[in-house]
Amino acid sequence: MKQVSGTCPLSRQQVIQQYFLEHRARLLDVAAFLDRLDRSSDSGEPDFREIALRQALTVLADDQPHRTARILHLLSDHTTDLPQSAHGMKGALGAVRLGEGAAT
């Protein structure tokens, strides 16, 4: 992937000043979502989207560049086959089931 260090004109401190509160709130939204899953009224198996989200969280914390692109890759369909028609198919769901095109 492209080398992108130093491309944002803001200093590290300026980035924090400008965006910290907004992203603090978004992080708490994610935390609350996971808490909500834990508190759900049944103890069903995790949905594939929950599994994908938890995988994505490890990317967030890995301290490597291009987190956004890598998470988008993780959430993408990597199959190469083409169905004939979309008849009966659901709309995009935002993640792919393991074994059905999810990145490994």
């Binding site: 492209k2 956004t68 988008l72 369909d77 199959t79 083409l82 935002g94 095109g101």
Partner: protein, 268 residues
């Protein structure tokens, strides 16, 4: 301050939106043909829609000093029925003569099916035959990466030069491939499912400001017709020059769109 929103679906927006866009500096828009939120029952439905795009919307936009241009096609979602799609494609050539039609769009894929791909190839051929620019819709969410690559392969197999094609709705995992293959790239600023103005600014910082534009794609869903001026503000907040801000929100769309002889901005 002036800007162009090169992808917005004004048929789904109120007249108030035109007013707010004009007050924010919008001087021109281009409106691709798209899925209306429901499948139309006949090609006649598209005929009426194309008349709305070529006759009614330019008049409504002009009330606020905004020039309205359009793109025509059958959208990928309704293209999954090839026989139906061909009935719609057959009525497009008569509309290509209209003064405000810039090309074929937004064509592409939705669920990456063989049927969609067949009709995509036929609409690329339509653009080839009539020497039209192409505006491309790429699929949403998990289908985007695969679909974008399939679309680029289909386009590269045609004789339409990549510099006459804009591939829209790029994100961080597709933008580099689109630009590397010589196409123009569009970023759609959307509150929930696509890019925020902040991420669009990040992409410009990482991948540069050549052959790239941003648009609101405002439509009948949760969307923001003022997304482009918000992105301009985001770039300025980061200290980017007025020249760069104008390049990605005015000069670049003008350069791409001016490849059509019909795209001429009044008073420019």
């Amino acid at each position: 301050m002036k800007y162009i929103d090169p992808h917005i679906h004004m048929v789904s927006r109120t007249t108030d939106d035109y007013q707010r866009m004009a007050q924010s500096g919008c001087i021109a828009i281009t409106e691709p043909a798209f899925w209306a939120g429901f499948d139309r029952s006949s090609a006649q439905g598209f005929f009426d829609y194309f008349r709305q795009l070529t006759e009614y919307e330019p008049r409504r936009a002009a009330l606020f000093g905004i020039q309205h241009f359009t793109w025509l096609c059958i959208n990928p979602k309704e293209a999954d029925d090839p026989a139906f799609a061909r009935d719609v494609i057959a009525i497009i050539p008569e509309f290509l003569k209209c003064d405000t039609v810039l090309g074929i769009g937004e064509i592409g894929l939705n669920k990456n099916t063989r049927n969609e791909l067949i009709i995509l190839e036929e609409q690329i051929a339509l653009a080839e035959t009539h020497n039209q620019l192409i505006l491309v819709h790429t699929p949403h969410l998990e289908d985007k990466l695969k679909g974008t690559r399939l679309i680029m392969d289909a386009l590269s197999a045609s004789s339409v030069p990549p510099e006459r094609i804009l591939i829209d709705h790029v994100e961080e995992h597709t933008v580099a491939e689109v630009l590397d293959r010589g196409f123009w790239a569009g970023m759609t600023l959307y509150p929930d499912t696509k890019m925020t103005p902040q991420r669009a600014a990040d992409v410009i910082e990482m991948y540069g400001s050549e052959r790239i534009w941003m648009n609101s794609a405002g439509d009948w869903g949760c969307s923001d017709p003022l997304a482009v001026p918000k992105a301009r503000l985001e770039l300025r907040r980061r200290g980017h020059s007025a020249e760069l801000v104008d390049r990605v929100t005015f000069d670049n769309p003008r350069s791409f769109l001016s490849q059509s002889p019909k795209f001429r901005l009044q008073g420019q």
